[in-house]
Amino acid sequence: MFRYLLRRLVFVPIILLILITITFFLVRMAPGGPFSSDRELPPGVEEALTKRYNLDGSVVSQYGRYLVRLVQGDLGPSLKQKDFSVNEIISNHLPPSILLGITALLISLCAGVAAGLVSALKSNSLLDYSTMALAVIGISLPVFVFGPLLQTLFSRVFHILPVSGYRGISLHLILPAVTLGLPFAARFARLTRAGMLDILSEDFITTARSKGLTERTIVLRHALKGALLPVVSFLGPAIASITTGSLVVEKIFNIPGLGREFVESALNRDYFMIMGTVILYGTLIIICNLAVDIVYGFLDPRVGNEN
């Protein structure tokens, strides 16, 4: 297990370096630059700007200098929001995104696993069918349809919850988190149901039954751990998708998160801001994947013993 972890850890910086390299050269290959606008800049001004922002010299030498600064933890200045560094912008806009993501993940995990368990234990009942039909609808319903629907229902018709905005941990968080969590809740429910049904047909469950254990003990102590394995292994991709989904949800509910900053920066050719957000999201996703794999390793004793 320890060696397996170590091997995975070695890959983290390599993946990050590949990501940084791809993004850096991709951004530079694109037409247009951060200072190109309708207005023609006087020749001196543009030169001064490029020098000031370390954009002079060949692209490769810029890449080298960027990496050196990156290792020191400096993501560079923002080229569009002139008074801010990328570090400052990220530290301002990251908390809403993270809070939204975590809340959505928790909601979808609780709701999804619970629905999946109920569905599996009452399999082939009306309850099972309706839950699973709801799950397929949940997967098929685009976030940007579900979001406005919830807004209309809960804010404009019933006036229970605020329409949009961000106030930290508050009522404002409920609608966006539910919107973002729905498709994942649906997937978790399907995975839990399938996993549980698989495990319940295994021989060791029959053994447990013949020993005369109660259904409750069988499900909670013997079956649940194995049934949740597919859910855990889906957590990695889920975390990555939640960051994407949050781009949309942030727009619907007007949350000042990092997603919008990312799209803006890409549109504005704000080189350092693009790099900063991609690196940040990349690191987050890689670390989450790693954490998921560790949890999986603990749950499934087969992992890591291959070699």
């Binding site: 990501l19 791809i22 993004t23 694109a30 397929v136 098929s140 685009p142 799209v263 991609v278």
Partner: protein, 463 residues
């Protein structure tokens, strides 16, 4: 029990068995029906329905489903001796009679001082200026654009009073001057008769106040038309699902949008399958060192936040259809590679591969002719589940404003426009509801079908 035994004795191929199981899967059949119905509608109906998704009738504005109006364009131009510029559906008529009403235009200029109305001025063209203390604006009211053309339509009639606060929502934040256009209909009706010969205009007669004037050219604006009669028959256009704010027919736009969405979904999935299938098959067949290196690469790529790279590609480069296919396909091929590799890994030890090797078949022949056909089951399942995923991803991109340019709008962009044009009280509900429902039908059908296929191909459920 007995029937099961019989089926085992009649040995069918695994694929055949899978399809037999599929036919008993009700939800999957329902999904298949939905998918086939929507795809057929999207492909076939535009051929008969006519019209273009880009045809605008700005004066019409957003109209609810079932709305009908006289069959004319925003601007109908007739010049004797040249081809008539009017609705294509009227081109085979020999005589067109347009009944039109004239509209008077007034410009209204309102200024505020310290949040209260300071002046209310009416101008008729550029000459006559009237200043009023109070006024109720009756007729169709539009915000004027900078070039003097009518812009956003203001829904309610306003009562304006000097030295009182202007009605809410009228002024943009921070602006103190508002220009509006007030358009009123006259009572007088003009009748214009145009005779055509093979869509070439031969004569134009205008009847007004019992006067008959023949003319060389005529321009009829769509918003003034009361009725259009072609060869004695009144012609109207109806909009099955209504129109959007630019007067574009929503039904046609949904059909064309569905085409684009399905095209993106199918082509991007095919891209991912071609790459993933070849990669996974090679990796699985050769095994050993080659396999571990190739799969390590897949692991590394799996860890990348690909969707960000896709967004970057979309933002930084020309957002063409081809780029969309490539970018979305590139994200998905990793999963195919993993699935296929696992399948091939277990297949390559089987006797028929051994036999093929013995008879001197090349690695390429074994992989592509013998091994890949065996992975068809999982690949079909994967395809049906990936198409909706990609359609959804494309709509995400369209929603954050990174849709395909230079093509008609996809379902995702239609939904996005629907959200934007919904209005505060949801008065333009059909603009959101109709494209969303179409999209949900496609995705729901595909997902049900994919689930059914997966169950059917699952060996654990085999007879």
């Amino acid at each position: 029990m007995k029937t099961k035994m019989e089926q085992v004795h009649k040995s069918y191929s695994p694929t055949r068995l899978a399809f037999m199981r599929l036919l008993r899967h009700r939800l999957a059949l329902f999904g298949l029906f939905l998918v086939v119905a929507v795809s057929a509608a999207v492909v076939i109906v535009p051929v008969f329905y006519g019209g273009s998704p880009k045809l605008t009738r700005v004066w019409l504005g957003a109209k609810s489903p079932g709305f009908t109006h006289p069959d004319c364009l925003s601007k109908n131009i007739f010049i004797v001796g040249t081809e008539a510029e009017t609705s294509p559906s009227l081109s085979d008529a020999d005589e067109l009679i347009y009944q039109t009403k004239n509209f008077s235009r007034q410009e209204v200029r309102i200024t505020t001082r310290r949040g209260k109305i300071n002046t209310i001025m009416f101008t008729d063209g550029a000459r006559h200026i009237e200043e009023l203390d109070t006024s109720t604006l009756k007729g169709d009211l539009f915000r004027s654009n900078d070039d003097g053309t009518p812009g956003e339509k203001l829904e309610q009639a306003f009562v304006l009073k000097k030295n009182s606060a202007p009605p809410g929502g009228l002024f943009d934040e921070g602006s103190r001057v508002l220009m509006m256009l007030l358009i009123k209909a006259d009572d007088e009706v003009t009748q214009s008769i145009v005779t055509l010969n093979n869509s070439i205009v031969t004569s134009i007669t205008v009847k007004q106040d019992n006067n008959e004037i023949s003319s060389e050219d005529l321009i009829i604006k769509g918003r003034e038309v009361i009725s259009v009669i072609a060869d004695g028959e009144e012609r109207r256009v109806s909009h099955l699902l209504g129109t959007d704010k630019l007067g574009r027919d929503l039904f046609i736009r949904i059909l064309y949008g569905g085409r684009i969405s399905l095209l993106v979904g199918i082509v991007a999935t095919l891209v991912s399958i071609v790459i993933g299938l070849s990669y996974g098959a090679v990796s699985g067949y050769f095994g050993g060192m080659v396999d571990s290196i190739m799969m390590r690469i897949v692991d590394v790529l799996y860890g990348l936040p690909f969707i960000f790279l896709v967004i970057l590609l979309m933002v930084l480069f020309d957002r063409s259809l081809i780029l969309f296919f490539v970018a979305l396909g590139l994200v998905q091929w990793l999963t195919v590679a993993r699935i296929v590799r696992g399948q091939i890994l277990s297949l390559r030890e089987s006797e028929f591969v051994e036999a093929a090797k013995m008879s001197g078949a090349s690695a390429r022949k074994i992989i592509f002719s013998y091994l890949i056909p065996h992975t068809i089951g999982p690949v079909i399942v994967y395809t049906t589940l990936t198409i909706p995923l990609i359609i959804l991803e494309e709509s995400f991109l369209a929603y954050i404003g990174l849709g395909i340019t230079n093509a008609s709008d996809s379902l995702g962009s239609l939904v996005e426009q629907g959200v934007r044009m919904l209005g505060d009280a949801g008065e333009n509900w059909w603009l959101l509801l109709c494209p969303s429902l179409t999209m949900i039908f496609i995705l729901f059908g595909m997902n049900c079908l994919g689930d059914g296929l997966r169950d059917s191909f699952d060996p654990k459920r085999a007879l």
